[in-house]
């Protein structure tokens, strides 16, 4: 008989405790990020696809040495450069990143001695065509500077 009533009593109390928990949660602020309207800033160490770093004049820091292309285990990077008349360094003319094969290992960024490559914070990548993921980084840099 005592067990019967104590079970009812304890059950009832636990129900009220549970309701207390949800009551407190009700007044806490929401934590949802409403994605298309709001976005979180990505962490510093977030690895998007690589992007060229520009110098003060808006030109890439890259000197087209080709170390990144050699460091890449998947052969994602194709680049070309030329030496204009009277200039000291080579100038980058083409930098193609095949992102379909990239695994974001970061060997290219590590191998670069000229502070010319960085990870971007780009994560909104979706397409139905493979060609959309073959990026012309030089063109992207120009578009960024427009």
């Amino acid at each position: 008989m005592v067990a019967y009533f104590s079970e009812i009593y304890n059950g009832l109390i636990s129900l009220f405790i549970g309701m207390g928990v949800t009551f407190k949660e009700f007044f806490k602020p929401t934590v949802t990020v409403q994605y298309p309207y709001e976005t979180l800033t990505m962490a510093d160490k977030y690895r998007g696809h690589v992007e060229l770093i520009e110098n003060d004049e808006g030109k890439p820091n890259c000197v087209a040495c080709g170390l990144c292309a050699r460091a890449c285990p998947s052969g994602c990077i194709t680049l070309a450069g030329e030496k204009p008349e009277g200039a000291k360094k080579k100038v980058l003319t083409r930098y193609i990143l095949d992102f379909t094969r990239c695994s974001l290992c970061g060997s290219c960024v590590e191998s670069c001695n000229f502070n010319a490559l960085e990870f971007s914070k780009e994560y909104n990548l979706a397409s139905t065509r493979k060609e959309d993921f073959i990026f012309d980084l030089l063109q992207r840099l120009e578009e960024r500077n427009k």
């Binding site: 009812i8 949800t22 806490k28 929401t30």
Partner: protein
């Protein structure tokens, strides 16, 4: 007020509008409330605070095709959603919202509401039986056993209140509690009852209301994780819409009854400004509690459900009935 045809039509239109509006916006309140408890924003795209969500949902449901699957029992299949909505609207006829706002004050108001409330179980049975779907069948068996199990303690508790009030007229029951908050039937001291167990009666009645309206944590009838959607698995379009509206209308009626029987109806706790707003305030506090309960507790098992009714609620309510009868005899 004479009972002319015009009066009747106006009353019916108001009742349907009240039920439909409540059903629509309780869904909104439920979704927003659930979201707040789970720290989400809830529907907030359509209109300010998502307030246009219910009418848009309604339009969507009405625009959909009404599919009647092959092999169903057509008459029962079509009758079931109507039967879910109709008793709910009928019950509004005799519920008094204030001294003046009542469609038809009946001497047997309580009896009528419970008579129509028990028809609700029938619509679930019809829907489950006629759907030719094992999940719907299982769900309707559960829902009916639940409705039968919880009607008993609910009615016994109601009889307790009726014995205290000495009347089945809802107006009369409210008038006896209207002096102050301490005269409410939930509190035992100053009212007619002198019964210290009245708060427990209130709890029993409230739990039975949850179970009778198939609300969580007693929503075994539409346990979506086990039975797809329960008895309305095969329903789409407005057939489903009617079930949904019926469910919310039943919640409103259950809360109305709790307010009238235990919380003094439209009486103010302090004797100030009695009127319909007190009734609505108490009504919506109760409904908010029901929503709050739904998003707090997980669904019970069918054994837990039936054990609660047959082993706890029925003995306690019976004891309370006898105790109250004895007290009435003594005082």
């Amino acid at each position: 007020m004479s009972l002319t045809l015009l009066n009747v039509i106006i009353a019916v239109v108001i009742a349907i509008a009240f039920a439909a509006l409540n059903a629509a916006y309780l869904v909104w309140a439920e979704r927003r409330g659930a979201a707040r408890i789970q720290r989400r924003p809830g529907p907030n795209i359509n209109g300010p605070f998502g307030l246009l969500q219910p009418p848009l949902d309604g339009i969507k449901l009405m625009a959909k095709q009404l599919i009647i699957p092959g092999g169903v029992d057509k008459i029962l299949f079509i009758a079931a959603p109507v039967l879910a909505m109709f008793p709910a609207i009928m019950s509004f006829v005799t519920i008094p919202f204030s001294d003046t706002i009542v469609a038809k004050n009946m001497d047997v108001g309580i009896l009528m509401i419970f008579a129509f409330a028990s028809m609700g179980g029938m619509s679930l049975l019809f829907a489950g039986w006629s759907s030719r779907n094992k999940y719907a069948m299982m769900s309707s068996i559960r829902a009916v056993s639940q409705a039968v199990a919880y009607e008993i303690p609910m009615l016994i508790t109601t009889i307790t209140v009726v014995m205290i009030a000495g009347s089945m007229n809802l107006m009369e029951i409210v008038h006896q509690q209207s002096s102050s908050i301490l005269h409410w039937n939930i509190f035992p001291l100053l009212g007619n009852s002198h019964n210290l167990l009245m708060p427990f009666s209130f709890l029993i009645f409230f739990v039975c209301t949850l179970a009778e309206t198939n609300r969580a944590p007693f929503d075994l009838g539409e346990a979506e994780s086990e039975l797809v959607a329960g008895f309305h698995t095969e329903y789409g379009s407005m057939g489903f819409g009617l079930f949904f509206m019926g469910e919310y209308a039943n919640i409103v009626i259950g809360s109305c009854m709790t307010t009238i029987l235990f919380l003094g109806g439209w009486g103010c706790p302090f004797g100030l400004f009695p009127g319909v707003w007190w009734f609505l305030l108490k009504l919506y506090i109760l409904i908010a509690t029901i929503i709050w309960i739904r998003w707090t507790f997980p669904r019970t098992t069918i054994y837990g459900l039936l054990n609660l009714s047959w082993k706890i609620l029925i003995p306690l309510s019976l004891f309370n009935l006898l105790f109250t009868a004895g007290l009435i005899k003594v005082f």
